[in-house]
Symmetry: C2
Subunit: 468 residues, 2 copies
């Protein structure tokens, strides 16, 4: 075992304590009510980078919640990686559904519960602690490393593109080594090679100027809750297919080979049902569950509301209803075009008596797919094979990693997802947790990855870098 | 002008001040958060009744928010009336939509804005002040008067039935003179002779045990917001007719004569649109707006919610959706039977992947219709004709007055609605108000009514009393 690995093994308790301190900061990016906690998270990350003896630690110029930079570039001839992670987290709502408070990280059965522990504070702390271990134990890193830790991943990395654009020189690297992305399953080592895109919209249906007494007006005026329900119901057909005209234009049907590859991946439906608590797996007819999750686009309401929600009853006809809508996109779907199609659908399908308004919040990202022969994948497969004594699978994820597409487009480089969170850890939901074992595995795996990468020459990566 | 009328004319300013004090008490009956203010309202009403020199002022035994009683029974040979009103109010939500705070009554352009000013605190104060005026100015009332002022009208008068049952002897009267009910339009004097019934339900659709990440699970699990939307959409057909099997069983189609009578009543559609701010009048095909409002049943969602409602976006698939449902019923529809039909419809129409739960809150009331030749109607017509110099119309209301049906069933007597609130006064909605002129008109009208009624003998009413 290398000195760095030994140092990490001895530091596991301290690193867990540092993660607890990090997860205590409610750095929710979407809700302005939490804005005051963003600088706390920035300071935490910067001090961690400095403690790891990284150089040029600082905030990158730009709008929005700041991105933090650091580097160590003294491994001459070795490849250069850009480590990516994010310090922002999802809102904790519904707070009442948490067993322990979302921002009081709590250890139960070797799992650390708390908002952001899994997405992405635990995983993103790992490469920082690995850098620290190499510097302390060996005085140097095996590879050249640049860090970019952003604060807007949960809101579509709104300003990251501008920042990367502006800092193209400083961020130049052979590939992105991402601490974000999540593993598919804890029992099946795998490398992610593709992710879905996203678009987010909000719609309202307004019927009257004010709420109206349901007795005095009932039967004579449109009820926006009913209109919204019909409008939402119009978005899918009976077979679960999205009924928005043009939505599937440009989406390629999978080849038989692609379908066979997906079908060969073990998928335990009863376990999936148990994990989600769902009574049935539901979706677009004609596609397997993994196909629907990985290579088919979706349209989901994330919120729907209008009228009285309090205790008891209030016999009023409300005058407006609201819906938050998001789509997961696949290659061939351009986010703004999809947003425009949905907007048109909502406008055309609103029943009489209602007025529709649709707004987007700029949160959009293309789907992403990496070249199958990229050398960074092979190293990941070697490391995971060693660690878990099983040959890892190549898989896709249904979620969105807009930054992979962004790095490819702006810096011309691919992104290797090497997160040690796992998809069952309830990120974006109450009772998010991170397995303590994943923290340990992640520390060992990142250290091994960098050791192996350090034996390669930078030139290996030249064919995979495309300047735009 | 009688001494009582003169006394009232001189007291208008003071009475308005008393109404402001009354409306300052947030006596919301449906929400336990306001429960502590109920005793304040009870004390206010009791002291008003005592100040009017009424006798036997006190709270009637019974569960729930208490009903208050008072009487004056020394008009020998004259008819006896039971005055009805309620001191409880609707919740103020959404509070942000109010121009002035809901419980800080504010005078603007001769209208008193505040929750409960119109429904029912202003109207119910009127008969108390009229009693006070007769006692102060003339030392006696022209008729025998009993008061029952309840605190649960806005939650379906849950315990009033038991109370009336228990107090049948004490509450015996020739008819109920109700301060609740609201006038149809301020420019068209009218007497209400019928009202719709009501039933209230709450439904939930649950799909999973927890919220799930929309990327990692999207396309594979049911979304309760979509299921609820389809379920809600299934409640009406394309013609606006309620699609719940058996819903219209027992509902009589109006005769041509009934339709002609309704068609002869002036109805100003542009004014109605302007009042509501609706872009179109929408409802069951084949019936006029007034028919839909008065003699056709409805099914309306009063609330609908699930998932994220905060600022920005949260890319989660929620695991539950909720709906508050109410129906306005017409003669022939038994509330509990209708509730059972809706429950069955929801259970049978829930799309795959969802589990429906339906709960009722016991809030139910039959529709009500009074005999056309009841002498109390003729007096109302005389008084309104004198006051407004126009022959009043006979109309129905779409709203529910469960107490009319309750008084008929338990005490065997009819209820004359003689409220001076008006249907455009935004009760059950933000910015509820009561016209100062309506307060003045109401005081004069109630005083005249009692003067005329005092010239009749009690025996006139015997044929209209039916002991059960």
């Amino acid at each position: 075992m290398s000195a760095a690995l030994e140092f990490l093994r001895e530091s596991e308790g301290r690193i867990l304590d540092e993660l607890r301190a990090f997860a205590r900061i409610p750095s929710v990016s979407t809700d302005p009510a939490y804005a005051k906690h963003i600088p706390e998270a920035v300071a935490f990350v910067a001090s961690q980078l400095s403690a790891a003896s990284l150089e040029h630690v600082g905030v990158l110029p730009g709008d929005g919640h700041p991105a933090i930079y650091a580097d160590w570039l003294h491994a001459e001839g070795a490849p250069t990686i850009l480590v990516y992670g994010h310090y922002d987290v999802q809102p904790p709502d519904p707070v009442a559904a948490w067993t322990s408070p979302p921002f009081e990280p709590t250890l139960r059965q070797d799992r650390l519960y708390g908002r952001g522990t899994s997405d992405n504070k635990g995983p993103m702390l790992i490469p920082i602690k690995v850098a620290e271990a190499f510097m302390r134990a060996q005085g140097r890193l095996p590879v050249n490393v640049k860090f970019i830790i952003e604060g807007e991943e949960e809101i579509g990395s709104r300003h990251l593109g501008e920042t990367i654009e502006r800092e193209r020189q400083r961020l130049a690297a052979d590939f992105v080594h991402s601490a974000d992305g999540a593993r598919w399953r804890v029992d099946l080592p795998a490398v992610n090679v593709a992710s879905r895109g996203i678009i987010v919209l909000e719609a309202s249906v307004t019927t009257a100027a004010k709420d109206l007494h349901s007795g005095r007006y009932g039967g004579t005026v449109a009820n926006p809750l009913h209109l919204m329900a019909r409008l939402v119901a119009s978005l899918h057909d009976e077979s679960g297919r999205i009924a928005v005209a043009g939505f599937y234009d440009g989406v390629k049907e999978p080849t038989n080979a692609e379908r066979d590859a997906i079908a060969s991946i073990p998928f335990d439906e009863p376990a999936y049902l148990e994990l989600t608590g769902a009574s049935a797996l539901v979706g677009e007819r004609g596609y397997s569950t993994l196909e629907r999750q990985w290579i088919r686009p979706t349209l989901d309401l994330n919120g729907l509301w209008g009228g009285y929600q309090g205790a008891g009853s209030k016999t009023s006809i409300p005058h407006a209803a609201y819906a938050k809508i998001s789509c997961r996109l696949v290659p061939g779907q351009e986010p703004q075009r999809i947003a425009a199609l949905i907007r048109r659908h909502l406008e055309q399908h609103c029943p009489p008596g209602g007025r529709v308004a649709v707004s987007g919040n700029g949160h959009g990202a293309l789907a992403y797919e990496m070249p199958a022969d990229h050398p960074c994948i092979a190293i990941a497969e070697t490391v995971l094979h060693e660690l878990y004594e099983t040959k890892p699978l190549r898989i896709r994820i249904g979620a969105t990693l807009p930054v992979s597409e962004m790095f490819k487009r702006i810096l011309g480089i691919d992104t290797l997802l090497f997160s040690f969170s796992t998809s069952d850890e309830d990120f974006h939901a109450p009772n998010e947790f991170f397995r303590v074992q994943s923290l340990k595995d992640g520390l060992a795996a990142w250290a091994r990855y960098w050791e192996i990468l350090g034996t390669q020459r930078a030139g290996v990566y030249a064919p995979f870098r495309h300047s735009s």
